[in-house]
């Protein structure tokens, strides 16, 4: 099927399947799956600026479905989400302008592709290391009798998150829903700003940056980080999508087709989180960005280089 807006020709069944897989991953990991969806679209011939914008608007629809599921499971910290939206919106503006600047010099594919590869590899290594270390922390007698959802999440870098929470970065706020007594608003805004910038520069919701940042830097329990991240993405991705669409970076038809598969996948993925504890979720996530990096390398080597 030919998509006249972006000029790409892709089998729609492939897009539905891609959306389904990404939907499951997004609902389970709370990261939206753009580290796979974006590279897969690029590997199949969609120009990188359209990959970024289309993946972002695809996230809007998918996140609403997954966020509703997580809301019903009690995984959303509304206060945290409200603060993060502010930082994300600012970051999104920066990312959008970055893409426009690269379009003007004709280097979108190469620059965005290389940055994405580096980011995905770094995230993969870090998450694998941390979650493996967390799994080595032994369970207490009480925890052995509890379900995965009832156990307190174990973080290898827990002390680091506690140190971040004590940093004097503006006024302090309590996040009782996430079990945090006090944390500076500046830390939350900084994390969400970086997430927003990556989101609008690399495409998708940037949950692969934001979710680990929420867990490791802010100390948010994994299940709540997953749900809150998805909830906040609905707002920030909508704004980023509007910006990219106005600038001609969104192929809605591709996004609509992908979303049909993602709608089912997201429900399945969100339900699965209740059967696994935090470190196992993070460990399972670790190799996925490497697949995304590989797809981008394939796309760059097969004809997108230098655009």
């Amino acid at each position: 099927m030919h998509f006249p807006i972006s000029g790409a020709t892709i089998d729609p069944i492939y897009l539905v399947s891609l959306g389904f897989i990404v939907g499951i991953l997004g609902g389970f990991f709370g990261v939206g799956g753009s580290f796979l969806a974006g590279p897969a679209l690029f590997a199949f011939g969609v120009p990188m600026n359209f990959v970024v914008g289309t993946d972002l608007i695809h996230i809007v629809g998918k996140s609403i479905v997954a966020a509703r599921k997580h809301w019903s499971q009690g995984n959303v910290d509304l206060r945290l989400a409200a603060i993060m939206v502010i930082g994300t919106i600012a970051g999104v503006q920066v990312g959008v302008e970055g893409i426009e600047a690269l379009k003007k010099i004709g280097r979108v594919d190469l620059v965005v592709g290389v940055i994405a590869i580096v980011v995905y590899i770094c995230i993969s290594i870090f998450v694998a290391f941390e979650s493996w270390q967390s799994l080595k922390i032994p369970l207490t007698k009480k925890e052995r009798t509890q379900s995965p959802m009832a156990r307190k999440d174990k973080l290898f870098f827990a002390r680091f998150a506690q140190w971040i929470q004590r940093l004097p970065l503006g006024p302090k706020v309590a996040l009782p829903f996430s079990g945090i007594k006090s944390i500076s608003v500046g830390a939350i805004l900084l994390v969400s700003f970086v997430g927003g910038a990556f989101s609008s520069f690399l495409g998708g919701g940037a949950g692969y940056i934001r979710m680990p940042s929420m867990v490791y830097l802010l100390g948010i329990p994994t299940h709540i980080a997953v749900g809150t991240d998805l909830f906040e993405i609905v707002v920030s991705a909508s704004i980023g999508s509007y910006e990219h669409a106005v600038k001609g970076n969104v192929d809605l038809l591709i996004a609509l087709i992908m979303q049909t598969g993602a709608a089912v996948g997201a429900q399945i993925g969100a339900t699965l989180t209740q059967y696994f504890r935090g470190p196992w979720i993070r460990l399972a996530f670790a190799p996925l960005p490497l697949i995304g990096a590989g797809l981008i390398v394939y796309g760059l080597l097969t004809g997108h280089h230098g655009k």
């Binding site: 006249p4 807006i5 608007i57 998918k62 479905v65 669409a245 038809l253 979303q259 709608a263």
Partner: protein, 87 residues
């Protein structure tokens, strides 16, 4: 948060059959959606993209949200219908 109750093997098998039937029905609806809706949308969206960019941006977000909610609602009711018939 409530702990999920353990299921026996017959309940798990029933859930699996329900899910597979749900996916089958949903897939048929999806194919119909492709041929009836998306082909007609293509020309209109392309025209909007090239000549009315702001309207395209607003329409894109609204259509995406509406589709997401509609698909989830359809998916939910298919599953409810299937599980309702089997219980």
């Amino acid at each position: 948060m409530a702990n999920p109750l353990p299921k026996n093997s017959s309940e798990e098998a029933r859930d699996l059959r329900s899910s597979l039937l749900h996916l089958t029905v949903y897939s048929v609806l999806l194919l119909s959606y492709f041929f009836l809706v998306l082909r007609f949308l293509s020309k209109w969206l392309t025209d909007l993209f090239h000549h009315h960019r702001v309207e395209y941006a607003i329409a894109a977000i609204l259509i995406m949200i509406v589709q997401a909610v509609v698909l989830e609602t359809i998916s939910y009711w298919i599953l409810k219908l299937i599980r309702g018939k089997r219980s």
